[in-house]
């Protein structure tokens, strides 16, 4: 057959549209990607909010009105300025906490710790989970069985429980919290990377690389990894958000990051006692954490949509 009648790529079992339209709509990659990124509302909002939070964290020493550790019990629990109270003062726009520390300052510094926890825990779990998942997916057989066993064992122990147990017993510090979370939440990475690798492994170019005698290391790093990277990004954002929320749960039970370092989870947990009386103490860090987790999720969803056009809808 010749060019004219040979259909270039009729997708197998694609959408109703794909049988007729997709090849007409072939995008020009560069401009279209730009258009998609900026045309994706979720991605723009998520990225924007995350950027603001990131800047807040980086610039905390510059933009903070005070010192996050500077306590004065005589000025404790000053409400934020929009409250109708004679205690409010522009010295503390968001008020002060139970120990009289400036809430806005702690919020800015807290961004650092919450971001650090999310990012570091995600990184650790990502390395563990991806390694296990890719190995299992690539080698299959015995390796797969062992990895599956490890995953099942891990999944049969509830995360919150194990994290609480470990943290309560070895004592909690920022480092411990990060490691414990990192060592616990790799399961999703492993599961997704495993199946993604299995899929990619069956594709022709991997077989081609194998037949060319490429080393396993090389095949995994340069043939498989690039093709499962978009899954990786999505899971990474999910787990980052997950870690930040888990830290909040640990803090609720008194076992999160240690004061006086403020994390947003800790601030929420410290304020929980005031929820029935001074709800702002929990609402302010709560909204901050909410925005952070939301923006990470939006970013992840957006990146998935943008990098995987078949998932557009």
């Amino acid at each position: 057959m010749t060019d004219a009648t040979k259909s270039p790529s009729v997708p197998q079992g694609g959408s109703i549209l794909s049988s007729g339209l997709d090849d007409v709509l072939e995008p020009s990659p560069g401009s279209l990607m730009r258009k998609r990124v900026f045309g994706h509302t979720g991605l723009v909002i998520g990225g924007g909010v995350l950027l603001i939070i990131f800047l807040m964290a980086v610039l905390a020493p510059v933009i903070s009105p005070g010192d996050p550790y500077d306590q004065d019990l005589s000025r404790k629990l000053i409400p934020p300025i929009w409250h109708d109270s004679d205690k409010v003062t522009w010295d503390h726009p968001l008020g002060t906490d139970l120990l009289g520390r400036d809430y806005m300052t702690r919020l800015f510094y807290g961004a650092r710790i919450s971001l650090l926890i999310g990012f570091a825990a995600m990184l650790i779990s990502g390395v563990i989970g991806t390694t296990l998942g890719v190995l299992a997916g690539y080698f299959g057989g015995k390796v797969d069985m062992v990895v599956n066993f490890i995953i099942t064992t891990r999944l049969s122990m509830p995360v919150v429980l194990v994290a609480l147990a470990v943290v309560s017993l070895v004592g909690s510090s920022l480092t411990v919290v990060i490691w414990v979370l990192g060592l616990l939440i790799w399961d999703r990475f492993a599961v997704v990377m495993r199946s993604a690798t299995q899929q990619v492994r069956g594709l022709d170019f991997v077989a081609a690389a194998q037949s060319l005698g490429c080393s396993t290391r090389r095949i995994i790093l340069s043939e498989i990894m690039p093709n499962i990277a978009n899954h990786l990004i999505v899971i990474a954002t999910i787990e980052m958000a997950h870690a930040i929320l888990l830290e909040a749960a640990l803090s609720f039970l008194g076992l999160g990051v240690q004061p006086p370092d403020p994390s947003w989870g800790l601030m929420i947990a410290e304020a929980k006692g005031m929820i029935f009386f001074d709800a702002w103490t929990i609402t302010i860090p709560g909204i901050a954490l909410f925005a952070l987790v939301l923006s990470i999720n939006l970013l992840g969803d957006g990146m998935r949509d943008v990098t995987a056009p078949e998932n557009r809808n």
Partner: protein
């Protein structure tokens, strides 16, 4: 089929064993259980006495072996703290946990599956955005904050629901919502993604070409295929909710297994902790097994292979 079940059982036993070794050593590595048992402010004499009476002075390996041997004979031992037969306490609390977990799961499914389906039918519509918002809030709000907010409104301000305990079925409403809401985003997203994929599949086009009513297409042809991954996810989530609902159980004063195992860890109540960890891991594996069976029922391709 039987071979499959046996294999699953083997894995279950192995997992349970691993988990029990992990938890046993964790408790030992983290401090002296005699201190915990003797209570806050116990004297030297008390601690020594506890250590002697409970046999904590023996090597860890011996203690573990001792426990394992008795566990294998079906004797899960006696709680050091609650002074009761571990098995009977676990089985007394299991129903509470099950009711909470099941009602939370039902709430999550009842909320998330219809939302996910609607969102998939009309992508980017108002209903899709609404569903997305629901999911996002569920994802981004720490569960204790959400739970306390529920108490504030439904318990204190409106006095619609009892706040704590397990005295009546109304007591389970708020905890189920608080616990289930946390699962909602995952289920909803999975339903939506599954429906989107299935709705654009060729067999749905076939079904429509046959002139079937939209509802038949949606529920008979699409949902059944889209729901398969949701079943697996629900099983896993149900497993988590049984053991991982410490925060919710704490807030609503529900005496479930999650709360009990957490307290047991703090009290170094080894027999109790070991038994619950064991039960939880077995339940988890049973659940995934059930999910596989259900999926086999839903998807004949799985059934055959």
């Amino acid at each position: 089929m039987i071979q499959f079940a046996l294999k699953r059982l083997g894995v279950a036993v192995l997992v349970a064993l691993t988990v029990s070794i992990l938890s046993f050593s964790m408790i030992y590595l983290s401090g002296d259980p005699a201190i915990a048992l003797a209570g806050e402010g116990a004297s030297e004499e008390d601690i020594e006495n506890v250590r002697r009476v409970y046999g904590f002075e023996r090597p860890i390996i011996v203690q573990y072996g001792d426990w394992l041997l008795r566990a294998l004979q079906g004797n899960l031992g006696h709680s050091n703290y609650l002074k009761a037969d571990v098995a009977s306490v676990v089985f007394e609390r299991l129903p509470t946990t099950m009711i909470l977990g099941a009602s939370a799961l039902i709430f999550a499914l009842v909320l998330s599956i219809p939302l996910g389906v609607l969102a998939a039918i009309r992508p980017n519509s108002m209903i899709d955005r609404f569903a997305l918002t629901v999911a996002m809030i569920g994802q981004a709000m720490p569960s204790f904050w959400f739970a306390l907010t529920l108490i504030l409104w439904f318990g204190i301000n409106w006095r619609l629901l009892p706040i704590s305990g397990t005295a009546s079925w109304q007591n389970f409403v708020m905890p189920s919502i608080a616990l289930g809401y946390y699962v909602t985003p995952a289920v909803m997203r999975l339903t939506r993604a599954g429906m989107l994929e299935v709705l654009s599949s060729d067999y749905i086009r076939t079904a429509r070409a046959k002139g079937l009513r939209p509802m038949t297409v949606l529920f008979k042809h699409a949902l059944r295929n889209a729901i398969i991954p949701v079943v697996s996810l629900s099983a896993v989530q149900f497993g988590f909710m049984l053991g991982g609902s410490i925060v919710i159980e704490t807030i609503f004063a529900i005496n479930g297994l999650g709360f009990l195992v957490w307290e047991s860890i703090l009290r170094a109540d080894l027999p109790m902790m070991q038994a619950i960890v064991l039960v939880l891991s077995i339940i988890y594996i049973l659940l995934t097994f059930l999910a596989d069976l259900l999926n086999g029922f839903l998807d004949p391709r799985i059934r055959v292979s």
